[in-house]
Amino acid sequence: MNVEDKSVEPAIAPVLGTRAETRTFGPMTPEMFVVYSGAAGDLNPMHYDRDFAQRAGYPSIFAQGMLSAALLSTFATDWLGPNNIRRFHVRFRDIVWPGDELTCSGEVTKTQRHADGTLVSISLSMMRQTGDTALQGEADFLVPQAY
């Protein structure tokens, strides 16, 4: 069985203005930060050592920006397909703290027909439960033509 058979890819490119169903991650836990540290191989103690974070002037440990980015990419690729991704861009806006709940949303901002499919551009955001935006981003997906 090949990957294309198993993965969840959309059969037809969504039209301009389509919004994905939102998805919320969290509440975020220190364990999630540690798991990401290991997966990324980034052992910055700011994300798991409270004393270290407090000495640096922060009230507690906080999430890696790239962990939030990875969660947003999970949301985006579950929507438009892991194989179809062609660009993923995020801007870090606000720090994510333990206990935060992060809601991802996305909307199709542009579609462009190509010989091998439709290039679908989306805007992405991740909002904390406070209403503050943790991440803003955009992504492009090349969705193959339906047979």
Partner: protein
């Protein structure tokens, strides 16, 4: 400070490992089957793990003091479907852009964009990663925006 624009970095290998993808998939809380199995593809932000394969001289230095450093933006570009487990990519970093802006408190903020280009076994450029680092204004009056990691 040496001129980073002209400094040459050493290219390095990035073996795409199935186990590494599996671990990353757990951390990103994905259950997507595209990221598992012998033909697993890499998740969109997986290339951020490349640096741990970098030898001495492999990293392009942004030159921003750690106490002022913020990670402002991160971008991943795929010129074709994402690479798969078993591939061995070659990574090469360089300073892509360097500019300054006046911050909200009137100080100078430095921006450095580091690009990493990933080529496959045939030498074809398959992916690029761009990291924007910000050197914030030296005096901190309030909580900084951005990823302070």
């Amino acid at each position: 400070m040496p001129d980073a624009q002209s400094s040459e970095t050493i290219a390095y290998e990035l073996p795409i490992e199935r186990g590494a993808i599996r671990t990353f998939r757990g951390a990103m809380q994905s259950s997507n089957p595209a990221y598992e199995g012998v033909e697993a593809i890499i998740p969109p932000t997986f290339l951020i793990t490349a640096w741990r394969w970098a030898p001495e001289g492999g990293r392009a230095a942004h030159g921003i003091p750690r106490s002022l450093l913020l990670h402002g933006e991160q971008e991943f570009i795929y010129h074709q479907a994402p690479p798969r487990a078993g591939q061995v990519l070659t990574a090469k970093e360089h300073i892509h852009d360097r500019y300054e802006k006046v911050g909200k408190r009137g100080g100078v903020m430095q921006f450095v964009v580091i690009s990493t280009e990933f080529s496959d076994e045939e030498g074809v450029l398959v992916a690029e990663m761009r990291s924007t680092f910000i050197g914030r204004e030296p005096k901190i009056g309030r909580e900084p925006k951005g990823d302070a990691s």
